[in-house]
Point group: C2
Chain length 162, copies 2
DNA sequence: TGGATATATCTTGATGTCAAGATAATGATG
DNA sequence: CATCATTATCTTGACATCAAGATATATCCA
């Protein structure tokens, strides 16, 4: 009997005509997701980053050729162009990335890690991976497989706009 | 091979020294959670609400005695006092809730649904439950059980600050 | 060549949230 | 009864985000 179960029990009393079973998994999913995000933010904070900044640096680091346009970052991070601009501005001000204009196409500007940004993400990703591993440490192999299988199926169903 | 698998494959090339397996379930969890939230927002929008407003109305509706203080709403919704104030202001302006001062304790103000707010949440909750049910319709009983079991365990481990 | 269209990025204004502190009423203590 | 601490709510300032539109450059084709 957790918080979500209590909410379901309240609905059972308040609106017995409704079958609110789906609220259980979905409520837990949302709560777990926020709690996990908050935990990961703490790791980023130890490196002077927030999740947004980490996301940019990690995307640049893992994606060949380690230099992406704002549009590519936008697609990779699934955010709007305005948010990309803002994130890059912040990181550029901190000296972690730099904008580099393309000589043959004046519209094109590639974003690349500075040496400092590269050094930071190399350290931060190690810490982040350790945090993530620990966050899932409480689940055994079977539970993990069950979780991932369901999430894969949900993700597949959602991204097609179904 | 979904988007998250591709990210893992990129890390495998970029940093073969790291074991990033945990990024799979956690990445999918975050993406699924945002996608589901966006889908539910659409339901709320059909009733002129956003998730924040729905949350307040639904909390008031399901919780006896259907009138809570700002502090109680704050605890139930796990948000800060400033956010509670803002949400109530919005809903009060829309005529869906009202503040009612306590006569014996000047600090205490209870928030209650207006008739209009009550009527709205009765309709919206039906629609919301239908949306939630549909969002999970792609999972069979076994998948659902596996998902919920893992989420319960994660939630239990997280809320104790572990 | 010139003008319409497409592409890429940035700007603006609004929103929802939080952290920290301000305000106000009550209760406890000497 | 005066003061201090407690409780409850609201205010302020900052931030990340988005949607919509502005700006700038490039490409197509008549």
């Amino acid at each position: 009997m957790d918080d979500v179960d209590r909410i379901l029990a309240q609905w059972q009393v308040a609106r017995p005509d409704l079958d609110v079973w789906a609220m259980g998994p979905l409520g837990r999913l949302g709560r777990v997701s926020s709690a996990l995000a908050r935990r990961m933010e703490q790791t980023f904070a130890r490196h002077g980053l927030n999740a947004a900044g980490f996301d940019v640096l990690a995307t640049l680091r893992r994606t060949p050729p380690h230099a992406l346009t704002a549009g590519e970052l936008m697609a990779a991070m699934m955010i709007t162009s305005g948010t990309v601009t803002n994130r890059i501005d912040q990181l550029a001000k901190a000296g972690l990335v730099e904008r580099q204009g393309d000589e043959t196409d004046g519209r094109r500007v590639v974003i690349r890690l500075t040496d400092e940004g590269q050094a930071l993400i190399e350290r931060a990703i190690v810490d982040h991976v350790a945090t993530q591993t620990e966050l899932l440490a409480g689940l055994d192999a079977e539970e993990l497989a069950g979780l991932d299988a369901a999430l894969r199926k949900l993700m597949a169903g959602l991204e097609t706009g179904a």
